[in-house]
């Protein structure tokens, strides 16, 4: 087999990491708090051990960027209700499987006889529907702008194939409206590490209102150690100069205009609607519903399922954690009543949840 030059291997260069850390140290003259919005960043920061490398004055707090964690308990209950319906197969990403709703989780529903399949792609759910013609396959639609075009393309494929037994229950969410709602409150955050793969779709422009209205430095970052360190350096430099602009440290993947093809497909299938976020409450035009012309593929319409208002579990501080207002270790349930094996809140369940990351790495 041919061995090819792979420029991406240079991203593992430890000396480059060391030089970036040194430059951050040199530039930082006062304490700075940076919020990483994306759950994949939270995990990457722990996995690369970056907290231990950074100077004391640079604090990282996590934000609301884990889709499972911000899915409301009412939406979780709807997924469970769908899974329990006779003749339904619920296809879901694995992250959702153990998240508790108001009365149990999908895991418990499966133990009671519900048919639930874990899939890596919505296209696998569509294949399942092709093979199980007498069943209704419902795909649990969660995720931000990275995932939504993928689900939209799958719905369009199902429409082209005139499928009758494939539907999606959409709990998809949009990142920019949530960030705008989040920063209405003073979070004492000096800069935002913006999500790399959401930005690959939406581009860098949607962050401009945040930088101008809230004087918030915003830098889009990739997921390797050097990507994150470069972005942190850019944020520190902006903060030191009291600047607040949008910059892109992930230019190999993120373009200013994003991915117009993916945005077109997403907008063809989904339209914005008001949506309940766990911890953040109701946010205008922050959720996505399936457009009426695709009603045939909308599980909420086909199977008449409505999302109910459900209270958050008592004592759980996931809401505060999602806003960066508290650390998981300050939650009275953390590592006591709430563990990855017996989670109370979603931030302890998802592989990208902040509480799960603290439990695993600290």
């Amino acid at each position: 087999m041919r061995v090819k030059d792979n420029p991406l291997e240079q991203l593992n260069d430890k000396s480059l990491c060391a030089s970036l850390v040194e430059e951050i140290n040199r530039c930082l003259s006062r304490p700075v708090r940076i919020m990483e919005v994306c759950g994949s960043h939270t995990m990457a920061i722990f996995r690369h051990g970056l907290r231990a490398l950074l100077p004391e004055g640079l604090t990282l707090v996590s934000g609301p960027g884990c889709p499972v964690c911000v899915t409301s308990p009412g939406q979780i209950d709807s997924f469970i209700e769908l899974a329990k319906m006779p003749g339904v197969i619920l296809a879901t990403f694995g992250d959702l499987y153990r998240v508790p709703g108001s009365d149990g989780s999908l895991t418990q529903a499966a133990a009671q006889g519900a048919v639930i399949k874990i899939v890596y792609s919505p296209m696998e759910a569509l294949s399942l529907a092709r093979n199980e013609a007498d069943k209704m396959v419902v795909f649990a639609g969660i995720g931000f702008e990275t995932t939504t075009p993928v689900v939209a393309a799958t719905i369009m494929t199902a429409a082209r194939e005139k499928m009758n037994n494939f539907t999606v229950f959409s709990a998809h969410k949009l990142m920019p409206p949530a960030l705008k709602a989040l920063f209405q409150e003073d979070l004492s955050v000096d800069g935002l590490l913006c999500p790399g793969h959401v930005s690959a779709i939406i581009g860098t422009k949607p962050y401009e209102p945040l930088s101008t209205e809230f004087h918030l430095p915003c830098v889009v970052a990739g997921f390797e150690a050097v990507d994150i360190l470069q972005a942190l350096l850019m944020l520190v430099r902006q903060s030191e100069k009291s600047r607040a602009v949008v910059e892109n440290a992930y230019s190999r993947v993120v373009k200013p205009e994003g991915n117009p093809q993916a945005l077109t497909i997403m907008k063809q299938v989904f339209s914005p609607e008001d949506c309940q976020w766990r911890g953040l409450g109701q946010i205008p035009a922050s959720g996505l519903r399936i457009r009426p012309q695709y009603d045939k593929f909308n599980a909420a319409v086909r199977l008449s399922v409505k999302v109910r208002d459900v209270a958050e579990p008592p004592g759980c501080l996931c809401g505060e954690v999602l806003k960066g207002l508290t650390s998981p270790t300050h939650c009275p349930l953390f590592a006591k009543r709430c563990t990855p094996m017996r989670p109370v809140g979603p931030c302890m369940v998802s592989s990208e949840g902040t509480c799960a990351a603290f439990y695993k790495f600290q």
């Binding site: 420029p7 970036l20 430059e23 792609s121 919505p122 990275t146 993928v150 793969h197 050097v226 993947v253």
Partner: protein, 82 residues
């Protein structure tokens, strides 16, 4: 959830509108290969480009030169040059 990985393109397979087949690509990473859909990619990749793969779909194509440009900028920043 927004996890996506860069994979090298080995082969691009054009779709067939009559048969409802979308374009796909055969991609590889560390010896593992898989077929990915190209419905939502920003541009059709060429062989030896990299694509960012999320949930079975390529969401972005980049050439080796684009990847190098980004890494060169990091080196300059690390040396305090930019």
């Amino acid at each position: 959830m927004c996890l996506a990985v860069p994979m090298r393109v080995i082969e691009v397979k054009n779709g067939d509108n009559d048969d409802l087949l979308p374009p796909t690509a055969l991609v590889e990473l560390e010896g593992l290969s898989q077929e990915v859909r190209l419905d939502i990619i920003d541009r059709l990749p060429e062989v030896d480009d990299f694509v960012i793969v999320h949930a079975g779909f390529a969401i972005h194509a980049m050439s080796a030169a684009e990847a190098r440009e980004n890494i060169d900028l990091m080196r300059q920043m690390a040396e305090g040059l930019t």
